[in-house]
């Protein structure tokens, strides 16, 4: 479980996150949604520790993360996997080396054992026969799969995904969404996905947090979202044709 407790964050005196509180549950795909510029990426990066928060607390299970020193934070970070919007794969490494990197740095496994784990993980994300290719030689969907493989190779307890579908076609987006959901349930991890893709919300959103102008505006499930009378949420949700159709069919 990850909990944001009255989190605030400012940039140059401008409040980007304003008293945001939310709970992200284990074994579920927790979605943060909102318009571009609403503060959802800042929230995700604050939760993962890439931004220092100005107020409030962030808890990983019972541990108050933001008050830990560097070494204790490092221990928690070893249990964290993150999928970046652009993949953030290391350009000079092959697919195999990218996935093996966390094992190289944090384990004392033999080369053979590491390669076995890499093969197993790449198989898990349904990416085979691409081991020796470089990130520039693979498609956007494959980049996301490698990114997922790198994030889960250490069997993390917490998985963060920053717009995992951005730049992908609708079909590949569904595949990536389902893959993340499967992994979340299989490994029983706390997954937080940052998205503005309503297809993802309707497909895999177990719990949803709607951020509006830096505030936690609404939270609920994907079933609640269609019934909500929150105006800002409805404006955001029903801008998507898919959600419009879903409401019509209710």
């Amino acid at each position: 479980m990850i909990k944001a407790d009255h989190v605030t964050k400012q940039f140059d005196g401008r409040a980007v996150l304003d008293d945001v509180s939310a709970v992200f549950e284990t074994g579920k795909t927790n979605l943060i949604i909102g318009q571009s510029g609403s503060g959802k990426t800042v929230l995700l990066k604050s939760l993962v520790g890439l931004h220092h928060i100005d107020g409030g607390n962030i808890y990983y299970d019972d541990v108050c993360y933001n008050t830990l020193d560097f070494n204790h934070k490092k221990e928690i970070r070893k249990q964290v996997g993150m999928i970046f919007q652009g993949g953030a794969l290391f350009d000079s490494f092959t697919v195999e080396e990218n996935v093996k990197f966390p094992l190289d740095v944090f384990t004392d496994l033999s080369e053979e054992e590491k390669l076995d784990m890499v093969n197993e993980t790449l198989k898990r994300v349904r990416l085979e026969n691409a081991h020796k290719l470089y990130p520039s030689e693979i498609s956007g969907g494959m980049v996301k799969r490698v990114s997922i493989a790198r994030a889960i190779v250490m069997k993390p307890r917490y998985l963060f995904c920053d717009e995992p579908n951005s730049g992908l076609d609708p079909l590949t987006s569904i595949v990536i969404d389902n893959l993340i959901k499967e992994i979340t349930e299989e490994y029983d991890i706390t997954t937080i996905i940052n998205t503005h893709d309503m297809n993802s919300v309707m497909e895999i959103g177990d719990t949803i947090v709607f951020i509006y102008q830096g505030k936690m505006w609404w939270h609920g499930t994907k079933d609640d979202i269609l019934m909500s009378d929150n105006e800002e949420l409805n404006n955001f949700v029903f801008a998507s044709a898919m959600a419009k159709r879903a409401r019509k069919n209710m």
């Binding site: 990066k45 970070r77 964290v80 953030a88 000079s92 190289d104 944090f106």
Partner: protein
């Protein structure tokens, strides 16, 4: 305003260096990185340093011959002055300025690209000290390899001078050789090496600093790269004066 900005930059640079000089997480990963950097920063610079040194050695010998043409000056002075010019300034300071352009821009753009594509964030999230992982191998590789480039430059420069003397027939090669070997002080070679070690540190650390704090898009990375070359060139020239003053206590 300008002074405040400079002091702020120096402060940030010091804080970055504090992060850089930590014990690497895994010795094997560090050694691999170090070897890669030796190749990228050192071996790949041999060609340009060799070519420039040969031609500069030839030009310096020619200029000496033209400007020292007097019945009162012995011919061997041409060889002597060529050697002194190469050892004292060209093979350390001028080669360092060439490397600041070649290696400095390469480092700043490489690290800057990693910053804007979130590869550095990915390292941080894994619990890796990104500054230490990316910058320390570059600094050590350059400190080890650049003095070797200085030595090579001294040899190639002298060979260039010898070649031009031999082909243009402006003096006998024996006279030139007498000049090269007369009153030789190994201390000056030591001075050249020491300067290059300091310059190697300046070039790699200053360039890494600009790359590490690059923001925005590829345009900004280009700007950081230019700024890295300009700043490291200026710092190299300032330290050249300081070190010369210290070594010769004049």
């Amino acid at each position: 305003m300008f002074v405040t900005k400079i002091l702020g930059e120096i402060g940030n640079y010091m804080l970055l260096m504090q992060k850089v000089f930590r014990r690497p997480v895994k010795r094997r990963v560090f050694t691999r990185q170090l070897m890669d950097e030796m190749e990228k920063l050192g071996l790949n610079s041999i060609g340009i340093v060799a070519i420039i040194s040969v031609f500069m050695g030839a030009v310096v010998a020619l200029q000496m011959a033209i400007n020292l043409e007097s019945p009162f000056l012995p011919k061997y002075l041409i060889g002597y002055a060529t050697r002194e010019s190469l050892i004292l300034e060209f093979s350390s300071t001028i080669v360092a300025l060439i490397l600041a352009g070649k290696v400095g821009s390469n480092i700043a753009s490489e690290i800057g690209s990693m910053r804007i594509t979130e590869q550095i964030d990915a390292l941080e999230i894994m619990g890796v000290n990104s500054a230490n992982h990316l910058i320390l191998p570059k600094i050590i590789a350059s400190i080890v390899f650049f003095p070797m480039l200085t030595l090579m430059s001294m040899i190639m420069g002298v060979l260039g001078g010898y070649f031009i003397v031999f082909t243009v027939d402006m003096m006998t090669p024996d006279d030139f050789m007498t000049g090269l070997t007369s009153d030789f002080r190994p201390y000056l070679v030591f001075y050249g090496f020491t300067k290059m070690i300091v310059f190697a540190f300046i070039i790699t650390s200053v360039s890494s600093y600009y790359g590490y704090y690059a923001k925005g898009n590829s345009l900004e990375v280009g700007r950081s790269s230019t700024q890295a070359v300009v700043s490291s060139t200026i710092v190299v020239l300032v330290f050249n004066v300081i070190l010369t003053k210290l070594f010769f206590n004049y």
